[in-house]
C-alpha cells in the first residue's frame, strides 16, 4: 500500500533523511521510532507530498506522490506533528471544511462524515467550541478526527497520542488497532510501550537511516530480557 524507496532530504548542509526505504501493506501498523531529529517527521512529510524529496520516491497504492500528488493525498489521512488546525473555526466547522474538500459535497454526506469522526474521537462536548480555546489533548483529537474523516486506506500519524491523557491514549490506540485490518498505518511515537501494544512492525531510524526494520518480537529478541528502551539506546548510539 505504501512503498518508500531511497528517500533523501537535505536541509542546507544537513542530511535529515538519508536513503530510507520500506513498505507497509494493508493490515500493518508500522511504528516509526527514532531519537529527536532522526528524520521521522521529514520522512512523513515526503510521503504525504508536503515536501519534495531530493531523491527517491514514495508510492501509495502504486501512485508516485511526485507525479500525481492529488491522487495520493486523496488516499491518505495525515495527522501532522502538533496537529495544526484553523484556530478561529469551531470543531464542527473545521471538520465540515475538511469533509467538503475531501469530496463530501452534499450537506447530508458532510454531516454524516463529521458525526462519525466526532463520535470516534469523542469530540461531542467541544463540537461548537473554537479550536483556539481547546486544550492540547482536544486539539490533538481534532487533528486525529480530521485524518480519519474520509476513512482513508492509508493513515500517516505523526505522534498521534502526544498530549493525550492515559485514558485517551488507550482509546486512540484501540481505535487505530480496530481500524487497521483494512488500512496501512504508519505512526511515529516516542512511547515504546505503544509499539509493543499495537504495532505489527517497527522501524527505528537514526540520523536519517533505517537501523532496524522488524517485528516487535524480533526487536525484543535482540537482547532477550532487556527493556525496549535499552535496545533502542544501543541501536541509536550514533545519535548521542
Amino acid at each position: 500500500m505504501i512503498e518508500v524507496k531511497g528517500l533523501v532530504k537535505t536541509y542546507g548542509t544537513k542530511r535529515a533523511v538519508d536513503g530510507i526505504s520500506f513498505t507497509v501493506r494493508r493490515g500493518e501498523i508500522l511504528g516509526f521510532l527514532g531519537p529527536n531529529g532522526a528524520g521521522k517527521s521529514t520522512t512523513m512529510k515526503m510521503i504525504t507530498g508536503f515536501l519534495r524529496p531530493d531523491a527517491g520516491s514514495a508510492l501509495v497504492d502504486g501512485i508516485d506522490v511526485t507525479t500525481d500528488p492529488v491522487a495520493v493525498k486523496r488516499r491518505l489521512g495525515y495527522l501532522p506533528e502538533s496537529a495544526p488546525a484553523y484556530p478561529e473555526m469551531t470543531v464542527g466547522e473545521f471538520l465540515g471544511f475538511i469533509a467538503e474538500v475531501r469530496g463530501f459535497r452534499t450537506a447530508a454526506a458532510r454531516r454524516a462524515q463529521v458525526d462519525r469522526a466526532v463520535a470516534l474521537t469523542h469530540l461531542e462536548s467541544v463540537r461548537h467550541q473554537t479550536i483556539e480555546t481547546l486544550s492540547k489533548g482536544y486539539k490533538q483529537r481534532v487533528g486525529f478526527a480530521q485524518a480519519l474523516l474520509h476513512d482513508p486506506p492509508a493513515l500517516i500519524l505523526d505522534e498521534p497520542t502526544d498530549g493525550l491523557d492515559p485514558n485517551q491514549k488507550n482509546e486512540v490506540r484501540s481505535l487505530i488497532k480496530s481500524m487497521a485490518a483494512a488500512k496501512a498505518v504508519i505512526l511515529s511515537t516516542h512511547i515504546l510501550e505503544e509499539v509493543e501494544a499495537i504495532c505489527t512492525r517497527v522501524i527505528i531510524i537514526s540520523q536519517g537511516r533505517v537501523v532496524a526494520d522488524e517485528t516487535p518480537a524480533q526487536l525484543q529478541a535482540r537482547q532477550p530480557g532487556a527493556r525496549l528502551d535499552a535496545i533502542f539506546r544501543s541501536l541509536t548510539q550514533s545519535d548521542l
Binding site: K45, T48, G49, F50, V70, A71, K73, R74, L76, Y78, P80, S82, P84, A85, Y86, P87, E88, M89, E93, F97, I98, E100, V101, R102, G103, T130, Q146
Partner: protein, 240 residues
C-alpha cells in the same frame, strides 16, 4: 477547480471571525471618506462627482491592501496549517485562487461599503452613474492587482511584519511609476519614450481613465494580467 469554493468560504469566514476584519473595514471607510472630505473638499467642489473620493484610492491601497494581504500565506506558514492545506487533495493553483478570490471579495466589500456616499450625491445632485460604476470597477480591479502583489510576497515569508513592509514598498513603486509628479521628474533627464514605458507600468496611469468614466480594454488588461502574473509567481513560490 471544484476545490475553490470550500477554500474560498473558509478563508472568508476566517476574515469575519477575527476583529481585524472589522477594524480594517472601519479604517478603510474612515480613511477613504475622510481624505475625500478634508483633503479634496468633497462638498466644497460643488459638483456631483465621486472623483475626489476615488482620486485617493491608489495611495490608500498602498497601505491598506498590504495590511489585508500580509497574513494570507505568512499566517498559514507560521501556524503550520499550510501543512494541513497542502496534504489535502487540492492543487497549489486551487489553493492560491481560493485564497486570492476570498481576499479580493473582502476588499471589494470594503470598497463598496462607501456606497452611501453615492446615495448622498444622488440626493444632493445628479451624478453620472456610468462614471460612478466605472470608477468602482476600476478601483476593485486595481485593488486586485495590489492584492496579487501582496499575496505573492506573503508566500515568501512566515513573518507578517516583513511581508507588510515589503508589500508596501513594492506597491509604492507601482503606484509611483504612473504618478504625474514622478514622471515629470523622470522626463527631466530621461528620454520621453522611456518615461512613457515606465509610466505604463504605473497603477495611477491605468486607474485614471476609470475615474473619468472611460473603460479602456488596455487598462482592464493591464490589471488582469498583473493579477495573473502575480498569481503565477505565487504558485511558483509555494511549490518551490
Amino acid at each position: 477547480m471544484s476545490q475553490i469554493p470550500p477554500l474560498f468560504k473558509r478563508e472568508l469566514l476566517g476574515y469575519f471571525r477575527s476583529p481585524v476584519a472589522y477594524v480594517f473595514l472601519v479604517v478603510f471607510l474612515l480613511a477613504s471618506v475622510g481624505l475625500a472630505f478634508f483633503l479634496s473638499g468633497f462638498f466644497k467642489s460643488n459638483v456631483a462627482s465621486m472623483e475626489s473620493f476615488f482620486f485617493w484610492h491608489p495611495w490608500l491601497f498602498l497601505f491598506l491592501v498590504p495590511a489585508a494581504g500580509m497574513r494570507l500565506w505568512s499566517e498559514e506558514k507560521r501556524s503550520g496549517t499550510v501543512e494541513l492545506l497542502f496534504t489535502l487533495p487540492v492543487t497549489t493553483l486551487e489553493a492560491v485562487l481560493g485564497k486570492f478570490l476570498a481576499a479580493w471579495a473582502f476588499l471589494a466589500l470594503a470598497i463598496l461599503l462607501s456606497f452611501p456616499m453615492v446615495l448622498t450625491l444622488a440626493y444632493l445632485g445628479d451624478p453620472d452613474w456610468g462614471v460612478v460604476a466605472n470608477s468602482y470597477l476600476g478601483s476593485i480591479l486595481m485593488a486586485g492587482a495590489y492584492l496579487g502583489v501582496c499575496v505573492f510576497i506573503s508566500a515568501l515569508t512566515k513573518n507578517q511584519v516583513i511581508s507588510f513592509v515589503l508589500s508596501v514598498m513594492v506597491c509604492f513603486v507601482l503606484a509611483l511609476l504612473g504618478y504625474s509628479v514622478f514622471t515629470e521628474f523622470l522626463s527631466g533627464f530621461l528620454p520621453v519614450p522611456l518615461v512613457d514605458v515606465i509610466s505604463n507600468f504605473g497603477f495611477t496611469t491605468h486607474f485614471d481613465g476609470f475615474t473619468k468614466g472611460i473603460i479602456d480594454p488596455k487598462d482592464v488588461m493591464f490589471f488582469l494580467s498583473l493579477i495573473g502574473f502575480t498569481l503565477f509567481l505565487n504558485v511558483v513560490a509555494l511549490e518551490r
